[in-house]
């Protein structure tokens, strides 16, 4: 390295003063190399997810709880038929569609039917049950996949086709109740991010406060709090969340609380460790000898130095919280069924795995993985960029 003018890193500080924040971020790739790309890649995944979350009502083609197609429509398929009992067809005009019972759906007002789904959804979990409902007159009309029509008409001579090809195409198919999977994926992102971000927020607030105080005060208090935190940390997080959700009952807020308990110790440990080392630094010593109050030392000199590690831990914990939330829903203990949720969709799809409806279990899982990978990559990359000392731990 004799010719330093050719080194891009050497040339950086000179013009850093003159460029905007975006430019600076972009230049960061020269400093940090691969870590920069990892961080940005993770960030991009999350940007897409967050956009999807915010604009869910605009992007999602259907209401995630509406039965818009035939059950088990394969991805890309959409041609469907409406079947009714012969001679009993209650519709003469498509405008009447809003007044009849279609499938499991009592579509009186054509609006959101989440409440009725909760009450009635259980009765018509499968196509056979739907057919029985149509035969007995409980249901006026059912959606079926086009390719099933000849077979069904042969088996049930009393059925007739009311309309054909009226279904739209479903890019990723429909689930066992005929709900659009794309719409459920988009709305599910909203649910999962709500739970994961709010639980990470709760646990960071409590964990940081406890860590700061415990590390700063030390002594008996520190020992007791550390022991409790270590015990929570050593307990299987999912089981703790399962126990808490069982006691608190299902619901977005309760799930967020249950999940947040698991992650308090991680924030606590990292913050406490940092405080222990920072408080020995010379500048803290100097502040103390100049007569700064403990609260000033804590908030002005120690807390700002803890932030980089907290950011990293936050990102990694959100990734983990997403998996925990999905796990809770998968075992059937998370959210009420009218909230679109990936874990819940996977557990529904699980029952139809052997029947070969692969799309029901494939796409929600990909989404969970993508979001979790996004937060993990962001956290990993940031940990090397913000705090090179943290990497080895």
């Amino acid at each position: 390295m004799t010719d330093t003018t050719q080194n891009p890193i050497q040339a950086l500080p000179a013009d850093l003063e003159n460029i905007g924040i975006l430019q600076r971020l972009w230049r960061g790739r020269i400093w940090y190399g691969t870590e920069w790309y990892i961080t940005v890649f993770g960030g991009l995944i999350l940007a897409v997810m967050i956009t999807m979350t915010i604009f869910a009502p605009l992007i999602a083609p259907y209401d995630p709880n509406d039965f818009v197609g035939a059950p088990f429509t394969a991805p890309g398929k959409g041609q469907q038929a409406l079947l009714a009992r012969a001679g009993q067809s209650p519709i003469t005009d498509t405008a009447d569609l809003t007044d009849v019972v279609i499938g499991v759906q009592r579509n009186r007002n054509g609006g959101n039917l989440a409440k009725e789904l909760g009450a009635k959804g259980k009765r018509y979990q499968t196509e056979d049950e739907l057919l029985a409902g149509l035969t007995s007159g409980e249901v006026d009309l059912i959606f079926v996949n086009q390719d099933l029509v000849p077979e069904l008409l042969a088996a049930h001579p009393d059925f007739e086709i009311v309309a054909e090809k009226m279904g739209h195409r479903f890019a990723l198919g429909t689930d066992n109740l005929g709900r659009d999977i794309v719409s459920r994926l988009i709305w599910g992102a909203r649910t999962v991010l709500q739970v994961a971000l709010s639980s990470a927020l709760f646990s960071s607030v409590i964990g940081i406060a406890l860590g700061l105080i415990s590390g700063f005060v030390s002594g008996a208090l520190d020992r007791v709090v550390s022991l409790i935190m270590d015990s929570i940390y050593s307990f299987p997080g999912l089981l703790l969340a399962i126990a808490m959700v069982t006691m608190l009952g299902p619901g977005l807020f309760n799930v967020a609380i249950a999940v947040s308990v698991i992650y308090v110790p991680t924030f606590f440990r990292v913050v406490r460790g940092q405080v222990l080392s920072i408080k020995e630094e010379l500048y803290v010593e100097a502040a103390r000898s100049l007569g700064a109050k403990p609260i000033t030392i804590l908030s002005k000199y120690i807390f700002p130095n803890v932030i980089p590690s907290v950011v990293v831990v936050f990102s990694l914990n959100v990734a983990d919280a997403i998996l925990t939330e999905a796990g809770l829903s998968f075992v059937g203990l998370g959210l009420p069924p009218d909230i679109p949720d990936w874990g819940y969709d996977l557990s529904k799809g699980h029952s139809f795995l052997v029947a070969g409806h692969w799309w029901m279990i494939t796409f929600p899982g990909i989404m969970i993985t993508l979001v979790a990978v996004g937060f993990s990559l962001l956290g990993e990359g940031l940990s090397e960029i913000l705090n090179p000392r943290l990497v080895k731990n």
């Binding site: 307990f235 299987p236 399962i242």
Partner: protein, 338 residues
């Protein structure tokens, strides 16, 4: 066994007591103290007042909290978790039936984690900052970001339902039963009794759940091994070995790995909670009748005593595992003594 080692082990056992006490108290706080009435949580809305009252009386929930706490602790000490509310047998008997399945799954999963994790971690450390290092690191991030139950579903779908190579779920095929129960782990029982058809059946059922559990944890393990190996590979004795002309492969996999092993064993202990959490989800995916299944099924059955007993047993397992790891640590590293 030296007297120093014996002393170390005794101290570790004594130190387990406060940890156990805190874990048990944690379970008590979650189940009894936090908002949320066990009677209401289990019997759901709509239960009559008499039902709720008799439920509380049966469990002693109508007593003041400190009495409840003392009863709770004394129950745990005597290994008496009460009687199951749906099946009229002691909860501990239920646990005895379900625990070996979790044990079998956990051991098999841990085996896969260790093999995959240590080798990919050591390999990544050896090729630090090269393409293979980055590929392994990104793969391990993806692995531990995978929802464990989804990995299970995908395996079930492809190798189970799709190709038909492996059974989709359960521990044994219908019609197969172990002649006698020794450990309760079917593969080991089959070996002990020399029942080879049973062994073959049990192991084919075990493969997918074990891979599911093992691979997800392997992601974390790879990372830990890599970080520890990097530390070790920077040390002087490695440089000295290199100077003496030892082959890089020998340096990394023999001298390096052996020295990275101690921190890895400790970290293995810390991952035990993850292993159990993963086992709960794996059991749900593969209808594997273990402890996780027991907790979740009994929550649905509204069997509060069994749920409580099973969760407490998890606390015992955690404390036990941390004790075992600490003792192992003492054997592995002669420097660790009190």
């Amino acid at each position: 066994m030296s007297s120093a080692l014996r002393r170390y082990i005794v101290v570790r056992i004594l130190l387990t007591i406060p940890m156990l006490l805190i874990l048990v108290s944690l379970v008590f706080v979650v189940l009894r103290v936090l908002p949320g009435d066990p009677a209401l949580a289990i019997l759901r809305e709509g239960a009559s007042d008499e039902q709720l009252a008799s439920f509380r009386a049966a469990l002693g929930l109508d007593q003041p909290l400190h009495i409840q706490y003392l009863n709770f602790i004394s129950g745990v000490v005597r290994f008496d978790f009460g009687e199951s509310m749906t099946r009229s047998i002691p909860v501990i008997d239920e646990i005895k039936t379900f625990f070996p399945a979790t044990m079998e799954l956990a051991i098999a999963g841990m085996f896969i984690t260790t093999v995959v994790g240590i080798f990919s971690g050591a390999f990544a450390a050896q090729h630090r900052k090269k393409a293979s290092d980055y590929i392994i690191r990104i793969l391990s991030i993806i692995l531990y970001s995978l929802p464990i139950f989804w990995l299970g579903l995908m395996l079930q779908m492809s190798f189970g339902a799709g190709l038909g190579w492996l059974p989709v779920s359960g521990r044994l095929s219908p019609g197969m039963t172990p002649e006698q129960t020794i450990t309760g782990m079917y593969t080991i029982d089959a070996i002990l009794t020399g029942n080879w058809p049973l062994f073959k059946d049990a192991i084919t059922h075990l493969i997918m759940p074990a891979i599911t559990l093992g691979l997800v944890l392997a992601g974390i393990f790879t990372r830990l091994t890599r970080a520890n190996m990097l530390d070790v590979l920077e040390q002087d004795f490695i440089t000295a070995g290199r100077a003496r002309g030892l082959k890089e492969r020998v340096l990394v996999y023999k001298h390096g790995l052996r020295n990275a092993f101690i921190p890895i064993v400790t970290l293995l202990g810390l991952q035990f909670a993850l292993l159990l959490a993963g086992a709960i989800l794996t059991e749900t995916t593969f209808s594997w009748p273990g402890m996780g299944r027991l907790v979740i099924d009994r929550i649905y059955d509204r069997d509060f005593t069994t749920v409580q007993g099973a969760i407490l047993f998890f606390a015992l397992m955690v404390a036990g595992a941390s004790l075992i790891v600490d003792i192992l640590y003492g054997f592995l590293d002669p420097r660790i003594r009190y």
